[in-house]
Subunit: 380 residues, 2 copies
């Protein structure tokens, strides 16, 4: 455990970035090739490829690539892990015949810079592909249209924007972090139908069923960090790790999320020997944050730790603070079909006086999970 990380708890000289969800890149559409009907079909397959890396590529985005020649898929690949080759390289390597003259479908703009691996745009050019279809440009300032420029100047036809929305869903954290210097924040609550998360006594095991709890493993596996409160640690002593065998990847392949514990009242930090008492404190990547400012915390998680996806799993007060500060991008409610009554504990502690001050969301997805519902909302 990094007790009270110096860095995180000293926010004095931090300037918060201005937050914009707009893509700062302006597209010059005249240069682009028009999309064809079949492009949507193949891009969907490329998106399916990308999903294979969803839990393991952090902090890199999940990317998939399909190579098509004469209506035949001749190669496919995805980016499995930071440090390993990108999707395009795996797809080119897998090709069962010459890719000369083929079309490559990539779910994110091919990179133009040499990072841990050489630029993919160059690999595509060398391979002889005639056309590249891209779901969306990469807002990473190291790329930001330069991948496309390289392809265009090599005389390759480039089509951009095919299935962009679907492809962006795979990398909400990466895209937001590149655009806003802030991670994408998911707030998860498990609640009864009448918005209660525990009985008055604190009893809360379990309100939602095993399928919902298994589904939370997916959320954790998507996250670079889990934020919780010291109260939750003291009351529930959760492990807050990824341990499911049902994610389609070996648990060992998934980078465990960092655990961040909010502890303004210093109930955990600096207490000698307290590491023994709580599961998460055995984790040497756990951080205790004793400061007030939640947006500084989020910004530092992005800047200092390359954490682009944050999951909040906390009690009603911490959850209420993040909502109050307008820092929640997505609210994920696991709703059990039960009534716990008016004396049970509230889902969100947040003092709102009149209807016009309510916090509004937009329903993005609604899914049965066992006997429960999972409702995904985007903050308005």
């Amino acid at each position: 455990m990094t007790s009270s990380s110096e860095n995180l708890n000293n926010p004095s000289d931090i300037t918060m970035p201005s937050i914009s969800t707009k893509n700062a890149i302006s597209l010059p559409p005249v240069q682009y090739d028009a999309p064809k009907t079949e492009d949507y079909y193949y891009m969907n397959l490329a998106i399916e490829e990308a999903k294979k890396g969803l839990f393991t590529t952090r902090p890199n985005p999940a990317v998939g690539c399909i190579i098509v020649k004469n209506n035949l898929i001749i190669g496919s690949g995805f980016h499995p892990k930071a440090g390993e080759p990108h999707a395009e390289v795996f797809a080119l390597r897998s090709a069962v015949q010459s890719v000369e003259g083929s079309t490559a479908y990539v779910t994110l703009e091919p990179c133009s810079h040499t990072g841990k691996t050489p630029p993919c745009a160059v690999a595509l050019i060398k391979s002889g592909v005639a056309r590249v279809v891209i779901a969306g440009l990469d807002p990473n300032p190291k790329v930001a249209g330069r991948g496309v420029d390289l392809l265009l100047s090599a005389g390759i036809k480039v089509c951009v924007g095919v299935c962009q929305d679907q492809a962006e869903q795979l990398n909400l954290g990466f895209l937001k972090a590149m655009r806003c210097q802030m991670p994408y924040v998911r707030l998860k609550v498990a609640t009864s139908l009448d918005g209660r998360t525990a009985m008055a006594s604190g009893e809360s095991k379990w309100i939602t069923g095993p399928a919902a709890r298994e589904d939370v493993q997916r959320l954790r596996a998507l996250s670079g960090a889990i934020i919780t409160g010291s109260q939750t640690i003291i009351e529930d002593n959760p492990s807050l790790n990824v341990r499911s065998e049902q994610l389609g990847v070996e648990v060992g392949q998934i980078p465990q999320p960092k655990v961040v514990i909010l502890d303004r009242r210093k109930r955990l930090s600096g207490v000698k020997g307290i590491e023994q008492s709580y599961q998460v404190l055995h984790n040497d990547k756990a951080i205790i944050y004793t400061e007030d400012d939640l947006s500084v915390l989020l910004h530092r998680l992005k800047v200092d730790y390359d954490i682009y996806d944050v999951l909040i799993e906390a009690g009603s007060k911490v959850s209420g603070s993040f909502i109050e500060a307008g820092l929640v991008d997505e609210l994920i409610v696991y709703q059990a079909p039960c009534i716990l009554g008016h004396s049970a504990q509230p889902m969100i502690t947040l003092d709102i006086d009149n209807l016009s001050s309510q916090r509004r969301f937009t329903l993005k997805e609604c899914q049965r999970v066992g006997t429960d519902l999972r409702l995904n909302f985007i903050a308005q």
Copy 2:
């Protein structure tokens, strides 16, 4: 207004029926014709016919009929209103060629008794149909298999049970009332995501959007009675009537639901001139119920008024009482995508101490209604 109906408020000598949701009719399957693949297709069309009468047939069930000969639909009809001919008669009348040798699809067992109209089983026999396919038997003790018996003894092939579940959904109230002498009870609440129905101040207009409020008109149009509390009348002065022009039927064709006001503390009953103050009290079919026992009330609504579908639109206390008494068949939650916070008013007032005493439901349907969700739950 029938102030404090003698009948309803004097429950002394009422024996409550034992409630069973089982169909008491035992089927002798050997006599029945086996269903054919096309039967499901045509029965679905008959169900669509039945739906046309959904808001207007009360207290009669909604029934549809299709007549098919040589794979051609030659007639169709539905029961529009109590006192008017049944679906089978309209279908036979509409036939564009001789029905001799045809198959009739009916969503409920044809009646065998002479009520306001002659028995439909006899009409079918006289018409010369060769086969009758029925979704489900009629639990009405006046029919209860006798319609089928008549058909069988006339040498007509009879197939029972095709799309029975779907057909029963049309007449949950009628079927429950015939089987249990109790109406089918729907409890409707409009709530925020965190289970709040009003601000602490009482402000509650509006939590859900116009589409959800329009959808409630559908619920009212399905109901023989709406039950509310005197508190709701005093605070909100609602009209509790059906007034929508979007139900696919003229409002004048829809029997207005009776309004029943629970008023144990006699805040409305016997107060001179109070009819002037509140909209629902202008309605001479409104009833004020000052007794305690809610199950007696429901039973009397069935027995004395032929009310088979009851909708509860009330505050959290009345709603909580019905849930506590186990009298709710279906809970309908209009859930707005907003957070109102912990100081707002609870959805259900119900004192539950521990998780094992929670009230459980099963999700039946989940539907977007404008920006809100409608969740239909069946009580466990």
